[in-house]
C-alpha cells in the first residue's frame, strides 16, 4: 500500500485528489493499492480514515479542513511514502514548500511537487539530498504544465546532448502576444481582456515581466545541464513594451513575436523574439511549447497546455506512477 500525504489543498491539490478518485483503477493497475493518509494546508488538515470526496467537499464548503494540525506537523509526523506538495510558490525564498520538501526527503520519502519556488532556490541541494537518501524528487508539473518535458529529458533523451532548449513557458504571455498579432491592438487593451477572461492575474507582473518563464527556465536548464543556475542568471525582458506596430512590421516579413525562454550551457534568457510564422514555436493562445536541439536526435518539439487544474494534476500523477513503475 502506497501512502500519500497531500500538502497544499488549493486548486492544484484538489485537482490532484479529484484525479486520484477518477483514475483509481488505472493507477492501481500500474502501481498497486494506494491511500491518501493525510491532507493539509497552512492552517488545517485531515488524516486517518477519511474519503477523498469528503475532504474536497469540506474544503470547498468551509475553506478549511476539519483538524487543527497544520502542514508542517503532518510533513514531520505523519507516516507516508510520497509527499504531494502543491503549496504557494515563492521564487525568492522557496517559501514553506522548500521546508516541506526538505523534511520529507530527509525522512526518506519521495516527493512530487508542482511548486517552482523550492527548485528555483535550491535545485542542487534538493537533488543531492534525494540522491543521498535514495528517494525520488519529481517535478514534472513545474515546467510547461502538462507537457512531458522533465521525464523526456531525464529518460528518453538521457544519452543525448541537448545543445539548446527554446520554448514558450508562459501561457498568459502567449495569449496576449497571439491576440496582439491577430487584433493589432495595444498591449494594455489585450491585457485587460486577458484579466477579464481569468487568463491573467489581477497583478500580472509575474507573468508579463517574464518572471514565471524565467523560474521555469532555471529548473529546465538545471535538469538538462546538471548545473546550479539561479534565477539571477537569467537575462530577462518582459512583453509590456511591445507595440502593435511591432507586429505589423514583423508580420509583413513573415514573423510573429513570442516570449521565448532559451537555455544553452552558456546563456539563459527570456525575451520577446521574432519567430517565423511557420515555426513550431509560433503557437497560439495559452499553449506552451518546447523545442530541444539534440546532438543525435535532431530537434524534438513538445506542445501542450501550460497550466490548469486537471493538466497540472495529470503531470503530478505521471510523476507518482513513474516513482513506482
Amino acid at each position: 500500500m502506497i501512502k500519500l500525504a497531500i500538502i497544499g489543498f488549493g486548486n492544484v491539490g484538489q485537482g490532484f485528489a479529484e484525479l486520484l478518485i477518477k483514475k483509481r483503477r488505472e493507477i492501481e493497475k500500474r502501481v498497486g493499492k494506494f491511500k491518501v493518509v493525510a491532507i493539509a494546508d497552512s492552517k488545517s488538515s485531515i488524516s486517518g480514515d477519511f474519503k477523498l470526496e469528503e475532504a474536497i467537499e469540506i474544503k470547498k464548503k468551509t475553506g478549511k479542513l476539519p483538524e487543527d494540525r497544520i502542514a508542517i506537523e503532518i510533513v514531520e509526523g505523519e507516516d507516508y511514502d510520497v509527499l504531494i506538495e502543491s503549496t504557494i510558490t515563492d521564487i525568492e525564498t522557496g517559501g514553506a514548500g522548500l521546508k516541506y520538501i526538505k523534511t520529507a526527503l530527509k525522512r526518506g520519502c519521495h516527493v512530487v511537487t508542482s511548486n517552482k519556488g523550492p527548485l528555483v532556490v535550491a535545485f542542487k541541494e534538493l537533488v543531492n539530498l534525494a540522491n543521498r537518501k535514495g528517494v525520488k524528487l519529481m517535478y514534472e508539473a513545474t515546467v510547461g504544465g502538462v507537457m512531458p518535458v522533465i521525464k523526456l529529458i531525464r529518460k528518453y533523451l538521457a544519452i543525448c546532448e541537448i545543445e539548446r532548449a527554446m520554448g514558450i513557458l508562459n501561457g498568459t504571455c502567449n495569449y496576449i502576444l497571439s491576440r496582439m498579432e491577430e487584433e493589432k491592438l495595444p498591449f494594455n487593451q489585450i491585457l485587460n481582456e486577458a484579466k477579464e477572461l481569468g487568463i491573467a492575474e489581477a497583478n500580472p507582473s509575474y507573468d508579463i515581466e517574464g518572471i514565471d518563464a524565467a523560474a521555469k527556465l532555471v529548473i529546465l536548464a538545471n535538469t538538462i545541464y546538471d548545473c546550479n543556475f539561479k534565477f539571477k542568471d537569467v537575462e530577462r525582458i518582459g512583453i509590456d513594451s511591445i507595440t502593435p506596430e511591432a507586429f505589423e512590421i514583423a508580420i509583413k516579413r513573415g514573423y510573429t513575436i513570442r516570449l521565448i525562454a532559451e537555455a544553452s550551457k552558456r546563456v539563459l534568457k527570456v525575451s520577446p523574439r521574432l519567430v517565423p510564422i511557420n515555426h513550431p514555436l509560433a503557437v497560439r493562445g495559452t499553449m506552451n511549447a518546447l523545442m530541444l536541439k539534440t546532438d543525435t536526435a535532431g530537434n524534438i518539439v513538445v506542445m501542450g497546455r501550460g497550466a490548469g487544474r486537471k493538466e497540472t494534476a495529470t503531470a503530478m500523477l505521471s510523476d507518482l506512477i513513474e516513482i513506482y513503475e
Partner: protein, 167 residues
C-alpha cells in the same frame, strides 16, 4: 552580395539613368544612391555612390557595361556579405540619435543595410526593423551584440529572431 560603386556623372539630366539601366537589366537591386554634390571633380562631374545587391557572378559584366557607356567608374568595392538577419527595435529610436546607433554598429565586417522606422505619434515609442549583413556568422553575431549594447544604453528594446537553423 553588396556592391558599392562610385561613378562620376556629368551634371545634366539623364546621366544617372544610364547607369541604372544595366543594373536593372542584370537583376541588381539598388539599396541606396548618394549624390556627392559637394565633391564636384575639376571636370565638373559629380561623384555618385550607388549601393546595390547583385549576384556576384554578374559584377564583372556590370562594370564592363557601365564603362562601355562611357561612364567613369571611380571605384567599386565588393563586400561579400553572406550573413543577414533582421531585428526589431522598440523605443525612442530617433530621439536617441539614430545615426549614432547606426554608426556604432557599422564596421568593416558588417553593416546595417536596411532600416524601416514606424513612428505612431509624438512621445510614443517608435518601432523599427533593422537588417544587418555581415561577412560571416561570427561577424553578424558581433554586430548584434554591439547593437544590443548600444540599445541597452539608450533604453531601446531589441527583439532578436530565433535561430532559423533551428528549424
Amino acid at each position: 552580395m553588396l556592391l558599392t560603386l562610385i561613378v562620376e556623372l556629368e551634371d545634366k539630366p539623364g546621366q544617372l539613368l544610364k547607369v541604372l539601366k544595366p543594373i536593372s537589366e542584370l537583376g541588381g537591386n539598388i539599396v541606396g544612391i548618394v549624390h556627392q554634390r559637394g565633391r564636384k571633380t575639376p571636370l565638373n562631374r559629380i561623384p555618385v555612390e550607388i549601393s546595390l545587391k547583385i549576384d556576384e557572378r554578374k559584377v564583372k559584366m556590370l562594370i564592363d557595361k557601365i564603362q562601355e557607356l562611357g561612364v567613369v567608374i571611380r571605384s567599386y568595392d565588393e563586400v561579400k556579405l553572406i550573413a543577414t538577419t533582421s531585428l526589431l527595435l522598440i523605443g525612442h529610436i530617433i530621439h536617441t540619435d539614430l545615426s549614432d546607433t547606426i554608426n556604432r554598429v557599422d564596421s568593416e565586417d558588417s553593416e546595417i543595410v536596411e532600416l524601416q522606422v514606424c513612428m505612431p505619434e509624438i512621445n510614443r515609442p517608435s518601432t523599427a526593423i533593422v537588417t544587418i549583413s555581415a561577412k560571416s556568422p561570427e561577424d553578424l553575431s558581433k554586430a548584434i551584440s554591439k547593437l544590443k549594447e548600444v540599445c541597452s544604453e539608450k533604453g531601446i528594446i531589441v527583439i532578436e529572431p530565433v535561430e532559423e537553423e533551428f528549424l
